[in-house]
Amino acid sequence: MAKDVKPTRKNLMAIEDRIELSERGHGTLEKKRDGLIMEFMDILDKAQDVRSGLSDDYEEAQKKINMARAMDGDVAVRGAAAALQEHPEITTEAKNIMGVVVPQIESSRVSKSVDQRGYGIMGTSARIDEAAEAYEDLLESVILAAEVETAMKKMLREIETTKRRVNALEFKLLPDLYDSQEYIEQKLEEQEREEIFRLKKIKEKKEQEEKAERADTDDEPESGDELEQATAGGLPGGD
């Protein structure tokens, strides 16, 4: 609160420094917020495409595996899946977008050629190949969606945090600082006016005292003459 601040010049200078810093910070954070929003909109577009692609890939994979289970039998499909030897690997690296650390996910051994899936080619059918391929595509889509949507969530969190900071500066901190500044300035002005008035009063009083002193000093010599005159004239008080 403004009235909690001691109205001194030193505090006024400190508050003015804080205002300058806060205004600079406010400007920077606003730019950061706007930049993050622009990046977020790009990622949002990408995330929408990726999510839609993911749904399509899921439908396709379900359809293919259903056909494979129907035509080749559930036992054959499970058997082919059981032969899988190499499992996909995922590595993550960090990427920086406007100060937000987002993951970059790299995958390997997701898409495989027909000889890398582990099942014998002679004893299986193209249906199983197509079902496996569809699930590999789905897995690639899932990995991409994980990367993009995680980045999106982190960006969103950062935008919220930055917005809160901008708003806190704009609607709380800076107004309080301005209030404090105004209060101190007013108080200092008031003190100055009082000081001036006080000094003026002191000056007036001094002048009056000096005047009075001067007046006293003039009176004293007049009394001595009067006494001489009285003595000389036989005034009572003389012989």
């Binding site: 059981a82 030897q85 899936r117």
Partner: protein, 350 residues
Amino acid sequence: MSARASNPEYVNARVRSRRAVLFADEDYRKLIRMGPSEIARFMEETEYEREINALGTRFSGVDLIEYALNRNLAKHFDDLLDWSEGRLYDLIGRYLRKFDVWNVKTIIRGIYTETPTEEVSTDLIRAGELPDSTLDRLLEVDEIDDVIEILGGTVFYEPLSEAYQEFEETGALVSLENALDREFYEHLLDDLGRPQEGPDALYVEFLEAEIDFLNARNALRLARSGADLDPAAYYIEGGVLFTQAELSRLVGNYDELVDHIADSGRYGDRLGGALARLREADSLIQFEHAMDAALLEYADTLSSIYPVSVSAVLSYILAKEREVENIRAIARGREVGLTEAEIEDELVIL
């Protein structure tokens, strides 16, 4: 090989009665309109009654239907081997060895993934030559090299032993599975020569077609995948459509490969429509479907021309397999919500 005289007349007489109860087109049309539980009830009133009832306490829904179909298939083909003697037994046995291949693969996959023995046992189709006792021993072991040891004395022992080295290096089952499949196909035409007429000629022609279609499928899959593989590793001797050198060359050029099949005098007409769709759609599924239909048609021709021969028995084997696959396709298709039209497109019916 059985030392007794062959008995095709007896076996074919019994096969004819079995063939009479195979599902007809109208049965499939009824099934397509039913849900999975209705299909199971329908099957209870047919040839599959015993299996549905036996497995009904352990399974339900489409799993019940699939396991019941497999068990019924195994029973029928076991009966064929029980009835057959002499050369007929040998010829049927070598064809049914595909189920031994399936079973050994299933057991090896079960060991690889540490699947419980009971689950693996349920997935077996006991329709091949290997006796139940051998399969039960295989189910008890925990290591793949123990499986190979138990198969000592069978045709699978050597190829599996050779492929086991590659398995140890790569950790992938593909070498073992390919070795099993190759062994099955490469022995199909053993000691048959190339007869020019009679039932054996048609039988050989059918087996050649099966090998040619397998080579074509593998070649197309390899070509489409773009994988850097040695096509020779997947070539099966015995067909007439490709030589090994031709296949190696054609795998690198998808369009030329399709043209080569289309230009074939033996198969061009039967597969022409499917090849045209293959060029447009770039999906092998319809092509495989067309090959299955062509094989079924081939087999049906065998039974009508020489009704008292191994050809007729082979025709029944394919027809029974096709019935099982069609019913399974309908049941699974209905389970996952495929439309009637989509299911009908996938059925292979004469």
